[in-house]
Amino acid sequence: MTRAVAAGLLLLLVVACTTPEPPRAQAGAPESTACAPPQGPPREQAPTTIDVVEQAYFCILDRYYRAPVMDPRDLLVAGFAALTRAMPEAPLSLPALTGDRRADWAAFETAYRKITDREDLAVVTLEAIVAALGDDHARWARDPGRPPGYYDGDGYGLGFQVAGDDPLFVSVVEGGAARKAGLRPGDVIENVGDPELLRPGYPDARPVELRLRRGDRRWSVTLTPGLYPRDPATLRTVQSRVIDDAVVYVQVRGFSPDAANRVFRAIARARAGRSVSGIVLDLRGNGGGSPAEATRLVSAFVHGKVTSYLCTVDERCEPGQTDDTVPLVGLPVVVLVDRGCASACEHFSSAVKDHGAGSLVGTRTAGLISGPAQPFLLRDNTLLSFPTRRHLGPNREVVDRIGVAPDHFVPPTPEDAAAGHDAALAKALTLLDG
């Protein structure tokens, strides 16, 4: 553990020492509205006040990639609407907004201060302003801390993973309420369409009622979110095995800061002393992470190409090139994708697909890749993060909200899940065999 801690410290030092760029306060902007990337370790959170909301509002307008084409009034209207919902009894009305961001903020703040100085209302307001961006990579949250009784590796929630589209079904039972209720892979969920409703995060502990079907049997259960232990072996970010002594299978659960090197080492070890015909990269459920790692992983399969573009709203784009110092693996690769493949995972998948560096098998990816999220430190020591540039694929195509379509559509089914059959992997092995 020390090693990890020491590495973390080192990283902090490096980050701190190699960020000479001064906080980017816009010339003439009041001190309180400047926002800068965090430097050094996180500090204890302070109360979220209306001044923090103000800082976040101007931070978004200064740095969010879409801000130049946004109407700033939309943010204030969203914030104010949330305020009225939180205080139904208050005689709130929104003052006239002119479109001048400073004058409008002043009017908003005056109206706000007349009503309240409650911290929780500043939280509600700021959450609504961030949500109004409609951008999955725009986030602000006060850290709820660890659930009491938490042990390293524990999960929080209902205790199962979900797959499928219409209908949703249980793909993996991890533990917790789902295991206690006897759920099994393949159980169809008939009353919930949005998978997010099945992924409550701490401190959300509201019970969720499920109507389930297994074959002809139908029943209902109520599951309460909670903490549960998980098998640590299943949590490793990179896991590999050799299939039929011929194909290297590598599962990558996320693009952690060392993910690419771990994949390369796994492939090298698996190839030692045997002749291998191909590689399956399983990126299903890979929620993303470091774009640099996605780029490095692409670079093991193709050189001299653009893996993505980062663009301003007026289409000034910077290409992200493959890292041609990464040795080419020199084997055919099949990438397994699904709607759980998001962000950096889609960066990787779109580059592999556009350059014909491998085949994609499974279902369309998430379409959650507006752009790499940049963190900014607010005065209450919380982090506000959002993209300062948008992501485009290697052909300058928009991947956000669209996703990446597989070359071979192999959807997961409840029947396969119940039988423990992995149809996408079977398809991948067929492709590598031919």
Binding site: T2, P22, P23, Q39, R230, R241, R262
Partner: protein, 381 residues
């Protein structure tokens, strides 16, 4: 205002004391280290066993269908027998130095460290057993100073090298297992997984040792101690195996869920960072769950490696101790004294005055947590 603050942060970060062990090596490092001599009455013998658990695959090496462990035994022996043992092999030294980022010294330097145990010495009697588990990436030889001392005081010590969790472990066939587990040490659940693996390792080692060495080991008196993740593994192993009657954790963040009513004696030995209410809350959490004899001591001026051989190896490596740290000899004395006092108290039923509270002889040692037992006062332990 904001600029000043940012500048200050930069300054603080960049002028923070250089990370502990990486001070510039002095131009001509002295020769290899000699470990502190054991303090007990017995000469010490040592031998290495390679044990293979065929019931489970190795968790790190996908090509290993069985879990192989290397166990170093230190035991009370007859006098003047055998050759002086090696600290580690030259190859293990090289890999350990490289892995730890220590440069500027001959790669075989650690292998020339002078120890006090001899090989092939006959055992002398039947003794309680202490299992030792090292910190992550560290071979168990980094606990040699403690192991030799305990053996000289009348304990059989079984130091376990958990293969692929250390920079270097020489296996039965002569191959050196490197740190495959290092690949995943930032993953969620990593610590939880390691301590579960080590608990299984230790249960297997106990099975084997008790079957092989009935004349040497008193199977009714078994304890375990470990540093860092080895200390965390001590709690995990005790939770899983009732044969382990008592345990010591040298500054390891803990991971195992403890069963209700966990009443076997336990000792936490921490650096000042491991005081109650500190950044790592795992000891606070476990402290409440321990219902038997327990102590939580913190040693002033120590860092995470202070309870291992490292302070004694530092001069040879050209490294300087942290400012304010007790001397290497003093750290060895404190570690040996308190671990032995714990074992004497619980494996030999010899009450130790040291546990009554702060001692004038060891002012560096402070007692934390609400310990049961007699009111604390300065004693002459």
């Amino acid at each position: 205002m904001r600029r000043t603050l940012a500048a200050l942060l930069l300054l603080t970060a960049c002028s923070a004391p250089a990370p502990p062990r990486s001070a510039a090596p002095s131009p001509r490092p002295p020769g290899p280290a000699t470990l502190a001599a054991p303090t007990g009455e017995h000469p010490v013998g040592t031998t290495v066993l390679h044990l293979t658990d065929a019931s489970r695959p190795d968790p790190w090496n996908l090509d290993a269908k069985a879990r192989e462990l290397r166990v170093t035994l230190w035991y009370p022996s007859g006098r003047g027998e055998g050759e002086r043992a090696a600290y580690m092999s030259p190859r293990e030294s090289e890999l350990t130095l490289t892995g730890s980022g220590a440069g500027g010294v001959p790669p075989d330097l650690l292998s020339r460290t002078v120890v006090h145990a001899t090989t092939n010495a006959p055992a002398k009697g039947r003794f309680p057993l202490v299992v030792l588990s090292p910190g992550f990436t560290k071979p168990v030889s980094t606990l040699t100073s403690l192991a030799e001392d305990l053996a000289s005081r009348g304990y059989v010590v079984a130091g376990v090298d958990h293969a692929y969790e250390s920079y270097a472990t020489t296996l039965a066939d002569g191959e050196v297992a490197e740190c495959l587990a290092c690949d995943s040490d930032t993953d969620p659940g990593f610590g939880t997984g390691v301590v579960a693996t080590r608990a299984a390792d230790v249960s297997f080692v106990l099975d084997e040792l008790l079957a092989r060495e009935p004349a040497l080991i008193d199977h009714t008196r078994i304890a375990m101690a470990g540093q860092s993740i080895g200390g965390a593994s001590t709690l995990a192993a005790m939770a899983a195996d009732r044969r382990i009657a008592a345990g010591v954790n040298l500054d390891g963040t803990t991971y195992a869920r403890l069963p209700r009513g966990f009443a076997r004696p336990f000792l936490f030995v921490g650096t000042p960072e491991h005081a109650p209410g500190g950044r790592d809350n795992s000891w606070d959490r476990d402290w409440k769950l321990l219902t038997g004899w327990k102590r939580w001591i913190v040693v002033t001026g120590t860092d995470h490696q202070s309870f291992t051989d490292l302070p004694q190896l530092q001069p040879a490596l050209g490294l300087k101790p942290l400012p304010g740290a007790p001397s290497a000899a003093r750290l060895a004395e404190i570690t040996r004294t308190y671990v032995a006092a714990f074992l004497d108290e619980h494996l030999r039923s010899r009450p130790q005055p040291l546990w009554k509270g702060p001692s004038a002889r060891y002012p560096e040692v402070t007692f934390q947590g609400a310990a049961p037992g007699p009111p604390s006062g300065t004693t002459d332990g």
